[in-house]
Symmetry: C2
Subunit: 208 residues, 2 copies
DNA sequence: CAAAAGAACGAACGATCGTGCTATTTTCGT
DNA sequence: ACGAAAATAGCACGATCGTTCGTTCTTTTG
């Protein structure tokens, strides 16, 4: 009998390997991820693991891809149920904070951004593309909020996206080093203050 | 004849090694710093380099210490010529931004924070202590600004320090991935908007 | 200038790294 | 159930890792 469905064994064990690889990379970083340790963690031979990716770099790229998919599934997609604009932005931030709490030892994608920002090669390119893509998503949602009149006319979505992303970096940093709870309070308050200062009619700052 | 002064040869070559180690760690991260590569870079033998530190971990700790000293010399000490409060805070931020521009491939201390925040051991402790110490400095200077009446009474220095630190993390992130110039513009504007929203009488947000 | 002290070298260690190969086992269509 | 095909294991390779040890060169001291 053949109870297995489409994915087949190859894709299934590949997913299994990537699960373990993702967990390992969370602790050791993408650059600290070794095939030997991974194989032992999965319970396979080195060559068995290796054969699924063909090179260490391909494995690392696959981990990055898997991480991105998880991030989008946990942070972006749920927020799509909210109407475009401020509500969706709030949903994204909430889910993003939840994502950071779920991985207290650090987010693989962010760690990779820090590891590869100064080098060149496929890993750098992948990381840069991921970060740029996510930033674009943020900018688009903020743009919708401006179009809706939920944020002041003339507010620069690019600038606001930078500030929001910075807050999440700060939360990630503080949560890992000083504890999540206090950092979360700071981040939420800062986010609300940020929105307040970009509200229509109110607030200050921005272009002179 | 003995023209050499106090430091002696030992301390001198130790400094030389740390110079190269710091530069290497900037590219490869503290965890990617290997004694062999370092020795080749300095022009010494592996064992010669090794003898100066006794272990790789001690070398890494020494690099962290050297990085901290450079950071304080370039960012903190020059700002001490400014009067306590907002002026000194502005000087710190300016110098900090200059520090980030000077190391476009990434700051060793920040990279180390990202590398070791999820582990345990002496390196984690050192990184955590450094970050906590610097945060305390920020909080103190912001506290002076509040005492001076330059920031609104009741403003939480801890919270403001979180936001400012987050902005610098955002600048560091964006500068490395998307280019310094645009990121610098965002960071400066965000910093000024942040100060504006915490000014006495004006602004909004904060405690109800 | 000789003797003591310090610094750097060179070789070697066991371990692990990523990556090829060749068997062996497992899966799957027929 | 059997044979083709895919998946995994086993082994070996050169390289590099951190570390140790004994030797050699350089500096400082009496």
């Amino acid at each position: 009998m053949n109870a297995s469905i489409y994915p087949g064994k190859r894709a299934a064990t590949r997913e299994l390997i990537l699960d373990h690889a993702y967990a390992l990379a969370r602790r050791e970083g993408l650059e600290g991820l070794s095939i030997g340790a991974l194989a032992q963690d999965v319970g396979m031979s080195k060559s068995g693991v290796f054969a699924h990716f063909g090179s260490r770099e391909e494995l690392q790229l696959a981990v990055l891809q898997a991480g991105q998919q998880r991030f989008l599934e946990q942070v972006k997609f749920p927020a799509l149920s909210q109407p475009r604009g401020l509500a969706r932005l709030r949903a994204i931030i909430g889910a993003w904070i939840g994502w950071i709490r779920a991985y207290p030892s650090g987010c693989v994608l962010l760690a990779a951004a820090s590891e590869y920002d100064g080098r060149e090669g496929p890993l750098h390119d992948k990381v840069a593309q991921q970060q740029a893509g996510w930033r674009r998503e943020l900018v688009r949602t903020i743009g919708h909020a401006v179009e809706n009149g939920e944020l002041r006319q003339g507010a620069e979505p690019t600038r606001i996206a930078f500030e929001i992303h910075a807050l999440m970096l700060g939360l990630h940093h503080d949560a890992a080093l000083f504890g999540f709870d206090e950092a979360q309070g700071h981040a939420w308050a800062a986010f609300e203050r940020l929105l307040a200062s970009y509200r229509p009619q109110g607030g200050q700052g921005g272009a002179p």
